[in-house]
């Protein structure tokens, strides 16, 4: 079992859970207050379990480019890009964010469960690069008040940093790396620091009004925002086109791993697609529950919850393409009941302002 560098900051205040080999906070005050804090003020999450991989080589973006379907070679230091690592069949190895640092340097933040797999994959495909897994403290400060709270710690004008921008800033605890990214559908920051600095920062951000939040709230927040959970909403047998990530594919960027398969799917269509479903009542759609139409099973649920933002059950499901148009009425088999749902956009919740 692995413990975060921030472990001692919250070990007596959180209900804990095991996730991808790590002992992490499931919840602090509870799902409802934590969810509300992130949607209305600011929540603070320990995400130190996420994989942090730094890569160096003189032409790292050019070398990395064939491993992802997205155009990345134009990225400048201080920019970042969400994308996926693809295998030769176009299957998704992981979803990642690439942060471009200085000359010849990038940083990846990847899923905890995929860190080791990715590291091996990168060694295999980038033999010239120096690949350095790091284990700093990593936390996410998310919500409409996140920027204001973080601003109390540094003189750097954070409002000038755009979404997916990142930089190193000074604080009274030392230098920290801040990136305007997140997994909640809100404005916010992901922050990396040395363990001791991270602990001081965690306590200071709480003192400045952030609410500590756990993985249970994080899962509902990301699902409401229509953000995928790797291993649940996609895996190595799903392609970006099936997973609703076609917008990541730059068809004109030249060759990349899996391109041939994606071209075939683009021309012939995909058999199943990931869609959003919204229902009524209080029952939660859970992974594996059948999605049905006209008495036949046409798909299955991959994620679901009873959304606190919407007050309705929501879910993601792979559904046979003929049934994926927005507004299509379907049903979800919830144990002995067959409950009506409608196909909707996957972004169930969009922040205002």
């Amino acid at each position: 079992m692995r413990y975060s560098p921030l472990w001692e900051c919250y070990q007596n205040q959180a209900k804990l859970t095991e996730f991808a080999g790590w002992m992490l906070p499931a919840q602090f005050a509870g799902l409802t207050p934590e969810h509300q804090a992130v949607r209305q003020r600011a929540g603070l999450f320990d995400i130190s379990h996420m994989g942090q991989i730094e890569l160096q080589s003189p032409h790292i973006l050019e070398d990395f480019n064939p491993l992802v379907p997205t155009a990345i070679t134009q990225l400048k230091p201080g920019q970042a890009q969400y994308t996926v690592l693809l295998n030769s069949l176009g299957g998704i190895i992981d979803d990642i964010i690439i942060y471009t640092q200085g000359e010849g340097q990038i940083k990846l933040i990847v899923n905890a469960a995929c860190t080791e797999k990715n590291r091996k994959w990168l060694h295999q495909h980038l033999p010239r690069a120096v690949i350095q897994p790091t284990s700093q403290a990593l936390m996410a400060l998310q919500g409409p008040d996140a920027t204001g709270i973080l601003q109390t710690l540094t003189p750097v004008a954070l409002q000038t940093i755009p979404r997916f921008g990142h930089t190193i800033v000074s604080t009274k605890f030392g230098h920290i790396w801040v990136a305007r990214t997140g997994y909640t559908g809100e404005d916010g920051w992901e922050i990396q620091a040395e363990p001791a600095v991270g602990q001081a920062l965690w306590r200071e951000l709480l003192a400045q009004g952030a609410t500590p939040c756990g993985l249970v709230a994080r899962d509902m927040l990301r699902l409401e925002a229509g953000l995928h959970l790797y291993g649940q909403d996609m895996n190595e047998s799903s392609t970006p086109l099936e997973a609703g990530l076609g917008w990541l594919v730059a068809w004109d960027k030249g060759d990349f791993l899996g391109r041939a398969r994606l071209i075939t799917q683009k021309n012939q269509g995909v058999a199943q697609k990931l869609v959003g479903l919204v229902g009524t009542g209080r029952r939660i759609f859970r992974p594996g529950y059948p999605v049905r139409a006209q008495g036949q099973t046409v798909g299955h649920i991959t994620s679901g919850t009873l959304s606190l933002s919407l007050g309705q059950p929501i879910g993601l499901a792979y559904v046979d393409t003929p049934w994926t148009a927005l507004g299509t009425p379907l049903t979800v088999q919830v144990r002995e009941q067959e409950l009506p749902v409608t196909v909707v956009k996957r972004t169930f919740y969009t922040r205002t302002g």
């Binding site: 499931a26 509870g30 209080r282 029952r283 144990r335």
Partner: protein, 128 residues
């Protein structure tokens, strides 16, 4: 938060409790079950007049985290159902042994209560 198991109640290994008054049993779920489930979202209960059989499913409880069946601790006829909880199941968590009661059963086999666990037995079961 320390979980409590009142000594005057009886318990099952499947985490229901029973409060006995004469031949009527008030049934709910234990503080341990509440803690394990987390945020409770949905409750399905039988109707008044229905018969339930010891050890068999009488309802369903769901939380954000999990789905759980509810098992009858005793056999009998349902004489009351806590309908308000169906619309606000999350309130079970705040008072599982009081206002979180689920149903009342008129016992048809009173001798079954001898098979229920004491608070000490139940806590030993949780520890084991």
């Amino acid at each position: 938060m320390a979980l409590t198991y009142p000594v005057e109640l009886h318990y099952t290994a499947t985490h229901e409790y029973v409060a006995l008054t004469g031949d009527v049993a008030v049934v709910g779920i234990t503080a341990f079950a509440v803690e394990e489930l987390g945020d409770i979202t949905y409750l399905e209960l039988p109707s008044v007049g229905q018969t339930v059989t010891r050890g068999e499913r009488f309802g369903t409880i769901e939380s954000v985290k999990a789905v759980s069946d509810l098992y009858a601790p005793v056999s009998g006829v349902v004489t009351a159902v806590h309908e308000e909880l169906v619309d606000a199941p999350e309130t079970i968590a705040s008072d599982p042994y009081g206002n979180g009661w689920l149903l009342k059963i008129r016992l048809t086999h009173p001798q079954e209560t001898e098979k229920l666990l004491t608070a000490a037995d139940y806590q030993a079961h949780l520890g084991g």
